[in-house]
Symmetry: C4
Subunit: 310 residues, 4 copies
Amino acid sequence: MTDPTTSGTEAPGGAGVRLMRPAEPVAWPDGRRAAAAFTFDVDAESAVLAIDPTSGRRMSVMSHQAYGPLVGVPRLLRLLERHGVRSTFFVPGFTALRHPSTVRDIAAAGHEIAHHGFLHESMVGLDAATEAAALDRGLDALEEVAGVRPVGFRAPMWELNWHTPGLLDERGFLYDSSLMDADVPYELALGPTAPGGRSIVEVPVSWGLDDWEQYCYLPDLSGSGLIEDPAKAVSMWRQEFTALREEGGCFVLTSHPFLSGRPGRAAALEGLVAEVAADPGTWTASLEEIARHVRGLALAPRSVLPLEEG
Amino acid sequence: MTDPTTSGTEAPGGAGVRLMRPAEPVAWPDGRRAAAAFTFDVDAESAVLAIDPTSGRRMSVMSHQAYGPLVGVPRLLRLLERHGVRSTFFVPGFTALRHPSTVRDIAAAGHEIAHHGFLHESMVGLDAATEAAALDRGLDALEEVAGVRPVGFRAPMWELNWHTPGLLDERGFLYDSSLMDADVPYELALGPTAPGGRSIVEVPVSWGLDDWEQYCYLPDLSGSGLIEDPAKAVSMWRQEFTALREEGGCFVLTSHPFLSGRPGRAAALEGLVAEVAADPGTWTASLEEIARHVRGLALAPRSVLPLEEG
Amino acid sequence: MTDPTTSGTEAPGGAGVRLMRPAEPVAWPDGRRAAAAFTFDVDAESAVLAIDPTSGRRMSVMSHQAYGPLVGVPRLLRLLERHGVRSTFFVPGFTALRHPSTVRDIAAAGHEIAHHGFLHESMVGLDAATEAAALDRGLDALEEVAGVRPVGFRAPMWELNWHTPGLLDERGFLYDSSLMDADVPYELALGPTAPGGRSIVEVPVSWGLDDWEQYCYLPDLSGSGLIEDPAKAVSMWRQEFTALREEGGCFVLTSHPFLSGRPGRAAALEGLVAEVAADPGTWTASLEEIARHVRGLALAPRSVLPLEEG
Amino acid sequence: MTDPTTSGTEAPGGAGVRLMRPAEPVAWPDGRRAAAAFTFDVDAESAVLAIDPTSGRRMSVMSHQAYGPLVGVPRLLRLLERHGVRSTFFVPGFTALRHPSTVRDIAAAGHEIAHHGFLHESMVGLDAATEAAALDRGLDALEEVAGVRPVGFRAPMWELNWHTPGLLDERGFLYDSSLMDADVPYELALGPTAPGGRSIVEVPVSWGLDDWEQYCYLPDLSGSGLIEDPAKAVSMWRQEFTALREEGGCFVLTSHPFLSGRPGRAAALEGLVAEVAADPGTWTASLEEIARHVRGLALAPRSVLPLEEG
């Protein structure tokens, strides 16, 4: 059982020193009020193969996933180009190997390619060595297919282990984008006992800014069983953007080409991309650009105190 | 485990030859910009008996399913006639045997009768011989009841096995409509090693263009537990139609008479049928007509690379 | 396995005699175009105790259910009185015994009290003798508490067995309201081999016209996990009413006082009650009144063919 | 099995004495028509650790929960201050120990700190001694961290046992806020046989007035899988407020800072807070203020009859 007396956010003795303080406000370039990134997780077949390896037998399910790299990505690349937006695409190694032309097309269009595991495998409960092997396998695939050494990482299923940030730092990653405890990026201290030590940049995400919960329908694999109207999803995301902009936050939307690459959804998304990209108070950029900017601010690293394991 | 190095979409050696390319654009008849089909899966009792054979004991559940052929189909036939739309009805063999008059009425109204399995049984993981037997049993039922030899097939639960297209070709089917990897129909190569060989026409579907996820409530059998407003469902489908038309795609809506045959849902659906059928830029047709048109284009067959089984 | 060759809807030999024909149109009194009934299932504690007997330990859950008879019913009685609507309340025997004053208040307000099982127990798979005992126990409770001998029945969970209609007929019930295969009431033949024999009136319901799927949230017991906006639910029901009225159907809405008795939901429901009750083309009545009218039409009984058990 | 003949709401013998009567109307201060409270359950990490202790390993999930005390609470405190609203924050002991500065900030802003269990553990089926220990552990944590002795309690998961009110009374609590059988607060008699005896004030809640069902998405832990639009949630809550105000009720909204503290949701909530707080006919107060007012009315205690255990 987790012992709260040893996992509190103040220094022992109750001296009022807040160890787990909130992320501090971030100043954006050129006097912009807020930042925004449109990110894409190119899960394709890997996301369902990781949930159930036998789903590879289901030709229709596989075709549903392949829609992402085959049709969704090209459509989204055209969409982004129309609005001059540079984005970040998180690509599992398996996707790179199965759909190499898609990954090269993304890179050729000037977007960032980042790491998203090998087979989009959940890392919950995995030891560091096993997780390191999957990280390296993903790196190899991106290198082999697209000649890319990514600086950014997003955990499959957004499931980071407490040891993952250290593994990322060892491999030279600049940033992670899998945590949900702030509205702005911050320097994440590597370990609770090293507040002044090494850190990586964290660019937080939010389940409320993800298309999976709105659109994903994969019988026996994932989803609530319902499929939402893009008008509802995008209206909700716009509301979040408006409120985040007001407070100087960093809007990070996650879309999946096999979901949001469908024509009606892409059209609804384009309305939001157009609005955000045209907003003079918002800096729309890739996560790499955002992370490099944050790194340049030399923020004090923020500790996130781990919990004892159950 | 699936080996991505042998299941990628490029020729071995990384020569950049893309084996699993996207479907190519389709030219529609008479200079139309796009195509549309309103299709109906007449599952009736079979869909729930296949999920749980003991559901046959549940008189109310059976009556809920029987609503489709008894009330929904006649209402939808009147609706289609009002707008001069020819549609495709996918009929499981069991439905044909239990509701023969309904099936004959569909055919008499000039619509296409197509194959939808025997008992709407999922074919996930079944071997080819077992699946072939179910296919033949379904063919026999449609022949016996309605004197029909169908040219089209849609897999129950939209679950195709990698060997299914070959079984369809052996039985002389012109087309399948169960995959989800394109916005337009294409020639589906039979086997990855035969790009220039035999093929069947594939007319893709999409879970987002299906009424099951919006309306299906079958306690202990299927559904999310929620029932959506037809206004929401049809608004979402209209948005998809509008975006697909813009890009020259093929809009294929799947409705179930036991669901969309209810008065309020049929009324909402009629608004969309009216709009699509009256659109001068859209060719509204049965899937058979669409597949014959595509066959006439002599497209190069497209390979869909199977995955190793898990 | 169900044998479709012996459970089809035509006479053996394929003579084209349709045994399971749709319900025929119903002529409504005084030249009205359609009928409507607002019905209430007063499940209270029984509905959750039947799902899980240990839920009786959960004081908060029990209080959530008790809201129905304690607060919801009085509010709904006031609502119905404001619009001069006579309704049908289906009352499980357990509810009558635990909340006798509520049941007497319903009767005193001039509404119909009908049978809804004893503990709202699902009868799926129960033999006739066991089901008969529950029926009699429910009859006894309504007699003891309210001096009522009901003429109407609605199965708990809307789960009728094939033998239930016969049990109802033996006990002198005039009608059942648990099937879903028509938009109008009909005479339900007792047994497929007795088309000209005994029958009871069936007044069909529909899962789409029920508040459970919209509002019910009972952790670990029932519900999708979501709670819908009354504005959505009532808009959907209004759409169904409008379409049914157009076709001369019988609109039967089912509400649960523990759900729709909440202030905001009752206010939304009142908008619909007001509209329907004021519509000169619609006959708003209790199910008993509707069933007596239908009985007076001397319709030919309709057979519903049972399925072999799985 | 529960025996309804001994758990009915009338005195034995059927004398018509209603034992479990509805709560009576409440007169509000200064001639106000209705009351309203905006309450916050600061579950943070505890809510998921209680569901699954191994979830402490999931760094991203923990960060999602930590968002509440780190970012959500400060934002909500600013929001409440803008509208001069005093609120009640239910704080599990674990949250107090892990996020002490947050809890002190809440108290420093003048809001009420109330009891919400120790680790937000469900007490379903726990014996009184075990439950008492958790209550005392929670009391100790609030005392140690914030120097607070709470007068109010809300059960984790809103799961009260029949013995819980007695445990609260023994510890000097003024009120509980976990039941759902009334639209107004009332005096809850401690035990069915003591209608004139001791009581605590109950301020009822409602699942329909809770943000969990609208926003909570915690894979493998909780939620329907969908995330709702704040516009929908707040519109529904406003509708309930409007209807409750009309009838003199007490509107009690429950929000979770890790959910409703997100920018777009807080902005939507602020619209409702502004409207309610500015309404001259509504008394907006903390639950402690409401409970003290109700205690001053010297209402006759209301019995809630327990059910036999299954």
